[in-house]
């Protein structure tokens, strides 16, 4: 019984899949940074970046709507910006009857800009994880000077998430198997059920802790000395440098123009 919730990678034979993972990580971060720095209301710039991300999506052979569909997962986070139209001062567009709250025009423009930025950024992240295998992604982050300890921790989490999920599933099944209900007798109080659930979580935590000790013993047995070391897995090819240069130029141009205006 295996869960594969974290495995977002979709294999295709595309130019994007073949790129060095470092290029993809840098490109994605640059895209998100550029989009975040684009001034509010400069719709043509957002339009350019949308065209760019759709072009990349097309190049990945995942289908043009692939990233768009998955980007809706970011929608709940936009709720954080819901207060913006109401709190930004400026010419009033609309007044909510009964509450007296006003929606201002600058507020709406800001809100839609935030929406656009989030939407574009999430699409970039979706494409990154869909075209890069997770271990390669982690390796790229480590090589790009992300804190090694953090990268190693994420690696272990990815590796053992499924093991823990399996253990949790087994515990839940065992509980169901012992959850008989005799008709006419009262159900156990909710407080007790809560305590049982709490104890299961505690038990899972202890098992994870003990497993971590065994994993540490296994690492020691193979020579671990406290420093995290990895091999160079990829070499930058001409294609990688070209792609990187193209991305940087295509991102920089609209941004610079938008900032100057």
């Amino acid at each position: 019984m295996h869960f594969d919730i974290a495995d977002q990678y979709r294999h295709r034979l595309s130019v994007v899949h073949l790129l060095d993972p470092r290029v993809k990580v840098v490109a994605t971060f640059s895209f998100i940074l550029t989009v975040s720095l684009t001034p509010t209301g400069v719709w043509w710039a957002f339009g350019c970046f949308l065209v760019l991300i759709l072009a990349v999506a097309w190049l990945t052979r995942l289908g043009p709507m692939f990233a768009v569909r998955r980007s809706f997962v970011a929608l709940p986070f936009v709720l954080a910006a819901l207060a913006v139209p109401f709190t930004t001062p400026g010419s009033i567009l609309f007044r909510i009857p009964g509450l007296g709250w006003t929606i201002s025009e600058p507020g709406v423009i800001r809100f839609i800009s935030i929406l656009a930025r989030s939407w574009l950024a999430v699409q970039a992240a979706v494409l990154l994880t869909a075209t890069t295998r997770f271990p390669d992604l982690l390796w790229a982050l480590g090589v790009l000077r992300f804190p090694r300890l953090l990268v190693a921790t994420i690696g272990f989490m990815y590796r053992y998430l499924f093991v823990l999920a399996d253990e949790a599933l087994r515990m839940l099944r065992a509980r169901s198997a012992r959850s008989a209900h005799v008709p006419k007798s009262p159900r156990p109080p909710i407080g007790w059920q809560g305590r049982v659930a709490g104890m299961m979580v505690g038990s899972l935590f202890l098992r994870a802790l003990e497993r971590s000790e065994r994993v540490y013993a296994a690492m020691l047995s193979r020579g671990y000395d406290g420093h995290i070391r990895t091999l160079d897995r990829f070499r930058m090819m001409t294609l990688d440098w070209v792609a990187l240069a193209v991305v940087v130029m295509v991102l920089a141009t609209p941004l610079v123009v938008a900032l100057i205006q």
């Binding site: 994993v215 013993a217 047995s221 193979r222 990895t230």
Partner: protein, 236 residues
Amino acid sequence: MHHTIEVNDLHFSYPDGHIALRGVNLYVSPGEKVALVGPNGAGKSTLLLHLNGILRGRGEVLVCGVSVKDDTLGKVRVSVGLVFEDPDDQLFSPTVFEDIAFGPIYMGLLEVEIRDRVAQALEAVGLENFEDRVSHHLSNGEKKRVAIATVLAMVPEILILDEPTAGLDPRSRRGLINLLHDLPQTMLVSTHDMRMVSELFQRTIVIDQGEVVSDGLTQKLLSDDTFLEEHGLEAP
């Protein structure tokens, strides 16, 4: 180069007070394959963990003639390959390649040598081209074999395995037994699988309640039913 295991009067208690080993003595000569059997809780796993310095007790432990001390741990862990019971504890890297390369990387080998070692280790366990596979997608038998490969990549002189056939289906078990038969290292294998013991190991050590209660020819041990029953074992 003598690939020997020597344990002299080893005592060990766990922090909670439970006495796990009460004066264990044993000697394994180069190239010998020895089985370690005993009831659950006898101290088998505890003893194995002393052989590469994970646990440290009172008494002396020598592997390949080197006494296991703080400053010799690095050397000891290259000479002694310990394969744990649960392969999930041993396969902690994102891909099979990285798991097997872990040992050689920490030994400080060059990249070319590391890649060679990984390829050879995978070939030795019959899993060629498994480099890019992800650990949690493998079957139990494959995981056990990759776990052995992670240790073989360090080219140890002594192999120690804790319950290698536990949880394997008959085909995987047969594959593993054949693999153990072909590997040249000195071996000490802790197991409950008495059929494997009678097939692979000429010598068997029985341990019970932290002490060695028998150390001799497997066939002689397996013919003494009373003794076997006394120590929680059964002939195959």
